[in-house]
């Protein structure tokens, strides 16, 4: 028998060098910029500004104003941003059925049965001079209040965190504690253009 010719060995020592070079290039250029943020839906535009705004009772509206100096006025009182979350939670839940906090109406909701659901709406208004940072902080606090309530109810009812629940149970909780944030149509007050 003839001996099989020996395969010439390829020198692969440099392939690691090439791979390292490429690796370092991609290491340097990679940016893990995960975009994080607060998701919101804008209301669709209304062509004609109709005056027939449905009357909402004053007790059902939680008015948050932010002025050009980034100061907060909540329900007619100046407030610090740190108190806003608790105040919003109190408004949304109205646990003691106080007459100055929102009304509730009876609704049939899956998993909960007949329950009384708050009719409260949060109204957020800002000036053109408000800084975006403050605006987002306020938005964040309002969102946080809603999220904390939802999580609390999820814990009581299903003994799980809200984020871990299946979608239909999440939807039921969303119906149980609706968090509605309405933003006023921007108005041009006075010499609006020159204001900065």
């Amino acid at each position: 028998m003839r001996k099989a010719p020996e395969m010439p060995e390829l020198n692969t020592g440099s392939s690691a060098d090439i791979a390292f070079l490429l690796l370092i290039f991609f290491l340097v250029t990679t940016t893990f910029d995960t975009d994080k943020g607060i998701i919101r839906m804008l209301p669709p535009i209304v062509e004609k500004q109709e005056k027939s705004e449905s009357k909402v009772k004053e007790r059902n509206v939680f008015v948050v104003l932010v002025n050009a100096k980034d100061q907060l006025l909540v329900e007619g009182e100046p407030m610090d941003i740190r108190q806003l979350r608790e105040k919003t939670k109190e408004f949304l839940l109205n646990p003691e059925d106080l007459p100055n906090l929102p009304e509730k109406e009876e609704k049939d909701i899956p998993y909960f049965g007949k329950v009384r659901v708050s009719k409260g709406v949060i109204s957020l208004q800002n000036d053109r001079g408000t800084s975006y940072g403050k605006y987002l902080e306020v938005q964040n606090e309002l969102t946080a209040a809603g999220n904390e309530i939802k999580d609390q109810i999820a814990m009581q009812k299903f003994n799980k965190h809200f984020d871990d629940l299946p979608e239909d149970q999440q939807n039921a909780i969303k119906q149980y504690v609706p968090v509605m944030i309405s933003e006023a149509e921007p108005k041009n007050i006075g010499a609006g253009k020159g204001r900065k």
């Binding site: 692969t12 020592g13 392939s15 690691a16 791979a19 390292f20 490429l22 690796l23 991609f26 290491l27 250029t29 990679t30 940016t31 893990f32 910029d33 995960t34 975009d35 994080k36 943020g37 607060i38 998701i39 919101r40 839906m41 804008l42 209301p43 669709p44 535009i45 941003i81 740190r82 800002n126 000036d127 053109r128 001079g129 408000t130 800084s131 975006y132 940072g133 605006y135 987002l136 902080e137 938005q139 964040n140 969102t143 946080a144 999220n147 921007p186 204001r195 900065k196």
Partner: protein, 155 residues
């Protein structure tokens, strides 16, 4: 004088053939995860901190609008400007921008399109409100206020 004898006349060689495999594996990982930034930023953006920020799931459905003070202040001044893709634009250009972004997406994805607003925290709300109104007119209603996880303003 003692004579030192060389120990081990044969050189010990390490087997390096598996190193290239490992390096290649890492290489492929970084090649796959790399996303080249499509636009170079011409504005300074320091997004505000918030606690309730969530990750955006599908990156291919997101279009970005940047608002901030120009990096090159000598050329463009210090007033906040809007950047779409690679250039400075005005509020009126947002409609066209949204239309072209929408055209790039498949029909099924158009409804799920998200516009991420990357806005510097010191920008005034006036320009932001104008942009939001323009987005409403262009019926791009799903927006994302970009922020980073930080709760220092509560302390």
């Amino acid at each position: 004088m003692a004579v030192f004898r060389k120990k081990g006349s044969r050189k010990a060689r390490m087997n390096l053939s598996s190193m290239s495999d490992i390096v290649f594996m890492l290489l492929f990982f970084f090649m796959v995860t790399t996303t080249f930034r499509s636009a170079s930023l011409k504005v300074k953006i320091h997004v505000p901190g918030a606690t309730e920020v969530k990750k955006i799931e599908n990156k291919s459905l997101v279009s970005y609008i940047y608002i901030g003070r120009p990096t090159n202040e000598k050329m463009y001044g210090t007033e906040p400007r809007i950047q779409l893709n690679d250039t400075f634009k005005e509020v009126d250009d947002i409609r066209d921008f949204i239309a072209s972004e929408r055209a790039q997406k498949s029909e099924a994805d158009q409804a799920k399109m998200t516009v991420s607003l990357k806005i510097d925290k010191d920008v005034k709300m006036g320009i932001v409100t104008d942009v939001k109104q323009a987005l409403r007119r262009a019926s791009a209603l799903k927006i994302n206020y970009s922020g980073r996880k930080d709760d220092s303003y509560l302390k």
